[in-house]
Symmetry: C2
Subunit: 195 residues, 2 copies
DNA sequence: ACTTTAAATTGACTTATATCAAGCCTATTT
DNA sequence: AAATAGGCTTGATATAAGTCAATTTAAAGT
């Protein structure tokens, strides 16, 4: 299946609506395939996030770097997720985040102004947006709750049951950072959880 | 200004679109005013969140209670905010949250099925939803970041500069819980920040 | 296959924040 | 005005997680 076939499938499935041939032509005209090698940046801190990307293959991390040079991962993104700093993308303000490919990454990307067009002209696209923002609202609500009311160990267990594939796919220090833990602490948690 | 005038103003302002007379009639027909006294519940843990409420006056907190009986505040809501557990509201699943009035509370409330109707039939309403979910995405992204990468003191400073009115409006133990802190810790932070 | 580099583990120690307990205000109720 | 309760503060102590440093293991590059 080609990149665009994957993409169309995704839109139709999540929106519950079909894309017409015209819709598909419009999307193909304005979503550009882009490849990033491992460690390349999709977005650098300080830049405006001009592009939003749909991940066809690979993975990425969204992170900040604090004064002490500590990296803090906010999001791990894989296939069929959207990649962007939405604040920067919507408001056209400089981003505080970095987005970096963790594996060879293939995205279909487009711009803010184009997205506005798609939302106006493609019913399935705007239906998709509604579903995504619902899902997103739910997911962030959950993540907030785990962040605040769970212990480190509970947050790890939660990840194990919700995203078991992340454990194989990403190095442990990335997982630790995503959970808001030091690598040492995560290592100890894993050790204890075997008992 | 009546409750509905406040509501219509809000929709028009945030969506950037005008409401027709028909739109207004439709909204008035299906949003019901509801008053709650201080301490009354808008939603109880275990129930499905059947209503979404637009806050016209007053405030509320969304919180969980853990096994040890500790309350954990996830959200503090005031005028012109929407009140609901969106997960439960959208998916019709039992909620893990409680929502309680902190002050005398006036909302305009409606149901899931009605909201679907508004989204279909009132352009300003669906434009509003897009803006809100954008804002929401941005806000939760920020809150996640502060939760993980800021110290207790930084989180407090952040609140002071972003929502200074919360400090007057809500008791300090609620603020502490919202920041993910014990009341004692917040008390000590305030003391130190005067030096 | 060998070398180099990066990631994971382990132990000793430090720090931030929570917990427990007591006392003190400041309201509200009677 | 006295009484009660809820919220705030303070001190002493406990605990979870972080930091630093050394070592082992695994992965990547030549």
């Amino acid at each position: 299946m080609s990149n665009f076939e994957v993409f169309f499938d995704y839109i139709q499935k999540i929106s519950g609506k079909l894309l017409s041939e015209d819709d598909k032509q419009l999307l193909m005209a304005h979503f550009k395939p882009k490849k990033l090698r491992k460690r390349q940046y999709f977005l650098q801190e300080g830049d405006v996030c001009k592009y939003i990307g749909f991940i066809v293959k690979g993975s990425a991390r969204t992170f900040t770097v604090d004064e002490k040079g500590h990296e803090n991962i906010l999001k791990l993104s894989v296939e069929n997720w959207w990649l962007a700093d939405f604040e920067s993308f919507y408001l056209l303000t400089p981003s505080r985040f970095n987005i970096e490919a963790l594996e060879e990454l293939e995205v279909l990307q487009s711009t803010n102004t184009q997205i506005e067009e798609f939302l106006k002209n493609i019913p399935a696209f705007s239906a998709m947006q509604n579903v995504i923002s619902q899902n997103n609202t739910i997911a962030t609500q959950k993540r907030m709750q785990t962040a605040f009311s769970y212990t480190a160990e509970e947050r790890y267990e939660d990840l194990v049951s919700n995203y078991p594939n992340f454990l194989q796919r990403f190095p442990q220090n990335m997982i630790a950072s995503y959970l808001g833990l030091s690598p040492e602490t995560l290592s100890r948690i894993k050790k204890n959880s075997f008992k």
